[in-house]
Symmetry: C2
Subunit: 242 residues, 2 copies
DNA sequence: CAAAAATAATAGCTTTACTATCATATTATG
DNA sequence: CATAATATGATAGTAAAGCTATTATTTTTG
């Protein structure tokens, strides 16, 4: 009884934050990434939910809409009414992921006025690997984080797509890099490469996790040393001391 | 006449170096990456040569052995006698590329005794983009560099392959990161993340070139600022001063 | 309840990623 | 130089991927 009550209170107290999160996430994701908004129906949510777990299990190349249809007992053709193809679906998942990270970062750094503390917190949130499946019911953020580590680079590769479209697909990521770059500038106005540093941290953190998992000799990160520690040290060694 | 003579002298004087390069390159490349050594025949060389240009033109996913066959007026099935599939071919090209860079790096840093100067030179060679089609006749290193920037991450993604095999496919790259890591250690024995820094520099340089080309707002690199400059500054800010 | 919208079932098409077989060059060697 | 070995080419075929189209059946909603 008490448990239930507590649970209820939790839901209620978190409702506005959750709403805000969903708002902010949906706002960010470019509507050209989907044909029909997957958040708008049960089937759509199922598609997103199970595509995440299937890509994690079998890897992006072996994942197909046909297999997904079988898994969720729906029809291949129905899935095509939500996403043009699996590449767009991956872009959608990636946008969702970066939007979610952005939200958490903004939230976590919100009250902090000292630029160094703020940047430190931001790096922490952005380079930590996700441990808890927290906010949105049908999306498992832990698994999503794993597939982003393994598959994100595939989403970038876009010979087929024109500059304008490409820009749209990556607005969320671009905005996130921009924010981080700004925070770097706040700490050291004279540093000449804030955007490069920001993109290096975001991409580099994924890469270090990838290496830790698949090519451990290429990284010093392990159970003890985290990518967060490595990049925090890196960034604050580079920026001039206060 | 004078031009011809000079050219001849150049070839002759470079012959041993060239031989050595070829040796070192072939040595490095894991023989499981090909079925039949492409260096051993005209057809093999053609396959390598034209696969590079075709991947550059159309991107790795659109590139197929059938199309390559058409281009070089050979048969799809003949190509399959050299490479198991296009993914292995990409791994072969990547190994070749890293081996070539490794060779140039070792060569360029050979005489240098000061660890800082040595590391600086290494970073220069490893992060510079390739401007001249220099050493091996049938391989255009400029174009190869371009496809590595765009497609290298695809070669890494290896859900299908077991740990042991994977290690074999990437020996050259691993050795290169190892070498660079060692040079970092030589400069600062107390730095805790030499391998992570080495892998960050190699991967990060490719990424900065990629961004410069496709998402220029995410980087400060442009015609004036090079990834080499950015990473040189980064590395030497991190390592403790002499 | 009827119309509209969403989903499912089925079929079919083109391309990719191969494998297999047999024919024909090319090269090596006795 | 003959011939056996080897490399390459031509052709065919298969399974799966990556779609599109059509029609039938639910489900939603005004």
């Amino acid at each position: 009884m008490i448990v239930k009550l507590l649970f209820l209170r939790f839901i209620i107290s978190n409702w506005p934050a959750m709403e805000l999160l969903m708002q902010s996430l949906k706002m960010g994701i470019n509507s050209e990434l989907y044909i029909k908004d997957p958040e708008s129906s049960d089937l759509g949510k199922k598609i997103v939910e199970h595509s995440i777990s299937m890509i994690d299990e079998m890897g992006f190349e072996r994942f197909t809409f046909k297999k997904l249809g079988l898994r969720i007992k729906s029809n291949e053709s129905s899935i095509y009414r939500y996403f043009e193809n699996k590449h767009k679906l991956l872009l959608y998942l990636a946008s969702w992921y970066w939007g979610w990270l952005e939200y958490r970062m903004v939230f976590a750094t919100n009250g902090i006025s000292d630029p160094r503390e703020k940047l430190k917190k931001a790096i922490e949130v952005l380079t930590q690997n996700v441990q808890e499946d927290s906010s949105v019911s049908h999306i498992n953020e832990v698994v999503l984080n794993r597939i982003i580590i393994d598959e994100y680079s595939k989403s970038l590769l876009v010979k087929e797509v024109g500059k304008e479209k490409k820009d749209g697909y990556f607005i969320v990521y671009k905005r996130l890099v921009g924010r981080l770059g700004k925070m770097v500038e706040e700490v050291d106005k004279d540093y000449r490469y804030p955007n490069s540093l920001a993109s290096t941290v975001l991409e580099g953190a994924l890469y270090q996790y990838f290496l830790r998992e698949h090519f451990s000799t290429l990284t010093d990160c392990d159970e003890n040393i985290t990518p967060t520690e490595y990049f925090t040290d890196l960034v604050f060694s580079i920026l001039k001391k206060a």
